[in-house]
């Protein structure tokens, strides 16, 4: 059976069917969590933020001009929400301690060490490279799906994915060298 498109799902939600929003959630929530994780470096916070992002998106769904671009739209909301979260956090830290968030204050990521380390390295890539990796691995390694969400041509997406992987491989190699 053909999967309903994002455009169709958005229209059904706008017509009052909340279950269709659950389908959009299934399709995009892992990706939104990954985007949030780039900012929070902590899985629990990323999950909380992603819930908030989906709630906000639902409340603003009527403003979405191109329902077929739901994926890109919700990623934009996630980035803005995460920037807001980060500013709130910095301000809170400053209010509490009167000084800059300590760079050494790395918190527990809530992930197994190896996964956490790998995702931290992914988090150090450029934003578009990160998104390419997130979309690729969270859309079951379907380059076609991933490039559609990001809004790139096929060749553009492969180029970006390749660049992200090369950088990641280099970073991993450098880290290996540092370990005695």
């Amino acid at each position: 059976m053909r999967k309903p498109s994002e455009e169709e799902l958005v229209r059904v939600v706008l017509a009052g069917d909340r279950t269709a929003y659950g389908v959009l959630y299934d399709r995009f929530a892992p990706l939104v969590r990954a985007v949030c994780h780039d900012y929070t470096h902590n899985l629990a916070d990323a999950q909380d933020l992603a819930q908030d992002v989906f709630l906000r998106a639902y409340q603003r769904l009527g403003e979405l001009r191109k329902p077929e671009s739901f994926g890109a739209w919700i990623i934009g909301i996630a980035r803005r929400r995460c920037s807001e979260w980060r500013r709130q956090r910095i301000r809170e830290q400053r209010r509490r301690a009167g000084c800059r968030a300590d760079p050494q204050a790395v918190e527990d990521s809530g992930l197994p060490e190896e996964d956490g380390h790998l995702l931290r390295l992914v988090g150090m890539l450029d934003e578009d490279e990160r998104l390419a990796l997130h979309a690729f691995y969270l859309q079951n390694k379907s380059a076609e799906e991933a490039r559609r969400i990001i809004g790139l041509s096929r060749s553009g997406f492969y180029k970006l994915l390749d660049r992200a992987r090369t950088k990641l491989r280099r970073q991993l190699a450098q880290n290996q060298e540092r370990i005695p």
Binding site: R18, Y21, V106
Partner: protein, 405 residues
Amino acid sequence: MSAHLDDNLGKAYECFRQNHDALRDALTASLPESVTHKRRAGAVARLCRIAGGFATNSRTTKAAIAAVILITVLLGLHYLGGSVDGTSVAWADVLKNVETATTFMYTREFERGDIRQVMVVRVMEPYLCRHDYIEGGDGCDVGIMNTQTGKQINLYPRTKSASISSEEGYAGHQFREYKDLKRDLRDGTERNLGRVKLNGRDTICFEISGKSQTTTVWADPNTALPVQIESLSHGDSRTRTLMRDIQFDMELDRRLFEPPDDYCVLDLDEQRWTTPFELTEKHLIEGLAVYPKYLDGRFATRYIGGRPLTDEVKEKCQADVKKIEGWSEEDAHKSSLGCAFIEQLPKGSDWQYIGEDVKLGDATRVICWWKPPGSSTYRAVYGDLSIRNVAPKDLPPIPWLAEKK
């Protein structure tokens, strides 16, 4: 890329699917019944509907129809729309004055339940807004919003300091409230209540009914300028907003919308201070001295660095934070400037903090040190807050590194 890395990435990304079903159920259960359709019908479409809803898909035709209707309405308002009781001021005149003002100043009283705020608001069209709290400011004295740059500025006159961020704060909210008010006045249905005395002054009163609130406007009968506006919301959270002492098109100095020159300014996005003076050791000492006041006479567990963060250290830091939570604005500012001094030290300054558990006044214990540019010795701060030059070999061992050995 090796298959190994590909597998590892695939595995790492699985964490973003954790608890997915439970999270989806929680979200869908919390969704409102239906999506709000916020995209409003355009003015043209609305006017077309008023005109009888004849169907046309041509934009030009729609625009032409809208223009004809608009002109008719405006002419009607101008020639026929005078007040019902024969007063000289029509609502259209008042509205026009509100719409065309380039500067706008008023005292705003806001009440909802136990909350009461009073502030003076200044608006300089098209993108600047400033509010000065008189009552209920919750720590902030002045807020400024520049919607062109997207920057919110908060001023704290007691410490002559300011913060700038990209996040919209209360001043941005005020600016939107002002824009919303103009929209409500434009879109609502008005009723002329005739001549009314307001604090002994003659006014013409209008009531504007909107979807969620009723607004009353008292206007000067000679100038058609509003002198007071009151909005009452109908919803669950009943609020009252009163705008009094309204002035239009007065001189406003642009400098009112920027931090004064003698203020220390913290850019919250960049986490960088700009100070009108050079930061010196004195600022660091004043910053360090704040903590013993709140921590039973001892210095902070960490201060821009210190013992590596283990669970134990985190707990101790949190206990510190609890104790200093209620500190004064002045002390928070001193601490910030001390941190700013450290942050602006050049690379290679070797800043080190080891003041954890050192008591204020202990002249035998070092709490921190750094190396000034070009110097062969370190500047070391002791528990009595004295600063001495110390040769590298005479610096005390870093406790947690010594423990390891």
